[in-house]
Symmetry: C2
């Protein structure tokens, strides 16, 4: 065992108790809202067969999948030519059968196909698990991070889309965010625009260009469209949509008047209107939802609604997104199953909450009471008290040895423990214990019997 | 995208909603007890640097670590000779810098050393995360499984040992187990026995042999001891300890009378007595704890107490174990830090609970109410009701489309949803909705206003 200065792989993180508590506050909120809306949790293994993942994320994505070396004498199965040519790409599938999951979507599709005969459709599942990507690490981008996904498969109803918008609202509101916008669009609107130019087959090119509007501006989008075979005449038709302002009903009116010639476009409008009707019957605050025709989201499997949510208080990119896809499980041989889903970006939500100071104070998260260890007698005296408080679900610790009181108080302070109980010889004789409130510094006398009430009244 | 029949790597598992709910019932119970005893959660990355893990689990363990292939053109750094010799073992560190964690103990030691200046000692941490081992999969043994560890480092106090015994009791009792035994021993007792034979240096050989008593019987242990250099005379001295019966105090008395000549042995007795004193002051049910001198646990880093817990109702091996170690962080250059910890085997606890039917019924775990979707009008009527119930934390779903009622009831049944609400034209007119209890089959009329009370009275 050589001694070494320990480190962790770049792009990965250790989470201290304080950070775990904050992250769990986010995850628990997301889970409890998913639960209230009837979603059920599933979990899939961290490792998938490599061929389950390969080819699902594009060439670039394939390179970012972490592959797991086969066990044992893995080189015995490697091709002689591959080794001699030092061809890493070709060797990989020969020495690595497994890989770490890259997202939760493909494992979910794999799960649905494998378990289709046990599943009752519509299947409403959620999944909160880490994923791994060999991306270049940078600020806010990690090689291991959690995804929080919810999907409904096997239901065409637009009620699902409306409920996902409610879920975004409830999760973020519960976490304390006030200013945020849930943007909605529909791929059929983008198809409608492509149809207006007479180039419906270029819908994905149009989508990918519009998706970059934030980054490269209207001029950049125009240039990209020209390079993809759209004409200046086409761009004159497209431009008004990109700059469209007004309320949601005003935007819908404009779209209706423009899409007379596009059946797909009209279908997209109808779907959006249905979602807005649901939201109004749900008494959803309409100001939170904004129809945004430039919302494209690059993923090519979306076919209907597209959703995205952003904070308006902190510039941070999207806090979550999703949409409807009509053929997610086709890649595993089960076609015709429609689905719609959303995802939360827990790391970004964490950063927004830190910046807005929305987390509960650290003192609310851990041990409530430290009992000091004065001497052997006081220690034994304390044990029954520990049991009583824990039986009432109070998180309480006895300092494990009779070191100087100052050191014990320092421990309570560092751990953000809000109360300290002192049991010295005098306290034991009178039965009047000394309770110190660490925040106010106040001390009071209290009997053991009265102690549990301090903590039941706390919240 | 080739279509393929999907599968998952052998030794890994998908967890369905029902199983996730049951597993979370176990994990949440463990976490809540850890919390009450003042433990704080940390999380470490799934991937560690390979050299953090190598050499910590013995030669066999090193082979069972899953290594992660470097990204990019990993062969460019591989040695020419290694490739030509097809030497898998030698090539591994040249093409894999990272690996999946094999347990939570080594990453915890790494964490303590890396973060020693932020940590306030004694550091009481718990960690519930998956680990990965390339073991041959078999019944009850998986390649991905969760460990649930709690440790205290930086405190010599035997109060910690006593509290870990309480934690075993509280977790298993809360989960509904009734007949279980927490066995305790002390490595110093094993040292004492080795000293009595005049071969203190053979303590680990003795420990490893005794550890196999369950598997190979007393005869087998004797054979192994002979092969390790103990004499038949030694074995005559050792044997009485292996067959020792009686109550805990009777066993302690026997040990005391035997260990007059062994300082280490006497120290072990003293430590055990201190733990028993704490337990009695905690009002712990003494029958649960059994001093077992044959409890050895093979791990060579234990130096003091050894703990293990087993069900007496279901034959299943140990449900958890642990002990005190005096130099866990020495491997990373920080010596002199003592610690004590325990672990729960969640998969085995799951199997015991299944066999004893201790899990809450599935109907208690998911959606409480399904509102049927009768027609467009009924659907819109239901939306406000959905909101009201969810605002009261009731998990409720509206079936997303107006398919045949029979299909909707089938859905509720398959999902174990205990109540179904019917909103047809008559119900909307009178405001008297129809609520069906799916278990009893009874139907009653109920107003929307009275509905939330059904679910608040439920538990």
């Amino acid at each position: 065992m050589a001694k070494l200065k320990p480190s962790i792989p770049k792009g990965t993180r250790d989470f201290s108790p304080e950070v775990v508590a904050k992250r769990n506050f986010i995850f628990d909120t997301i889970r409890s809202v998913f639960y209230k809306f009837g979603f059920q949790p599933i979990e899939t293994p961290a490792m998938e067969n490599l061929d389950t993942l390969t080819g699902k994320y594009g060439d670039e994505g394939d390179q970012l999948i972490f592959k797991i070396l086969n066990s044992g004498d893995y080189l015995s199965k490697a091709g002689k030519d591959t080794l001699e040519a030092r061809d890493s790409r070709k060797l990989t599938p020969e020495i690595a059968e497994k890989a770490l999951r890259y997202d939760l979507t493909v494992p979910f599709a794999r799960y649905v196909v494998m378990h289709q005969h046990e599943i009752t459709f519509p299947f409403k599942r959620y999944q909160v698990q880490p994923v791994w990507r060999a991306d270049r690490p940078q600020k806010g981008r990690y090689r291991e991070f959690y995804q929080c996904d919810a999907d409904v498969v096997g239901s065409e109803s637009l009620l699902n889309e409306a409920e996902f918008i409610l879920i975004y609202d409830q999760v973020l509101s519960t976490l304390g965010l006030k200013e945020f916008t849930i943007r909605i669009n529909n791929r059929k609107i983008l198809s409608g625009i492509a149809e207006l130019t007479g180039k419906p087959e270029k819908m994905m090119d149009l989508t990918i260009a519009i998706d970059k509007l934030d980054k490269i501006g209207a001029d950049g989008v125009e240039k990209e469209l020209l390079s993809k075979g759209f004409t200046t005449e086409d761009i004159e038709k497209i431009s008004p949509f990109l700059g469209l302002g007004g309320t949601n009903p005003e935007k819908l009116d404009y779209l209706k008047s423009s899409f007379a010639a596009s059946e797909t476009g009209l279908k997209g409008i109808e779907e959006l209107e249905t979602v807005f009707t649901y939201l109004s019957r749900f008494n959803m605050r309409q100001a939170l939802v904004s129809l945004d025709i430039t919302l494209a989201r690059g993923l090519n499997y979306y076919t209907g609604a597209i959703l995205e949510v952003r904070s308006e208080e902190v510039k941070m990119g999207s806090l979550g997104g999703g949409g409807r896809y009509d053929d997610l499980t086709g890649m595993f041989g089960l076609s015709g199953l429609t689905g719609v889903g959303i995802s939360f970006g827990a790391d970004r939500i964490f950063d927004v909450m830190e910046e807005l100071k929305l987390f509960p104070p650290a003192a609310a998260l851990g041990t409530r009471l430290l009992i000091t260890n004065f001497d052997k007698e006081g220690e034994l005296y304390a044990l029954e008290l520990l049991q009583q408080l824990r039986n009432k679900d109070v998180a309480v610790e006895l300092y494990p040895s009779p070191v100087k009181l100052q050191k014990q108080f320092k421990y309570a302070d560092a751990r953000n423990i809000p109360y300290v109980l002192i049991i010295g010889p005098e306290e034991m004789e009178t039965g009047e214990l000394t309770l110190k409130n660490m925040k106010s510094g106040e001390q009071e006398k209290i009997t053991a019997a009265a102690l549990p009430a301090v903590f039941s009244n706390e919240s």
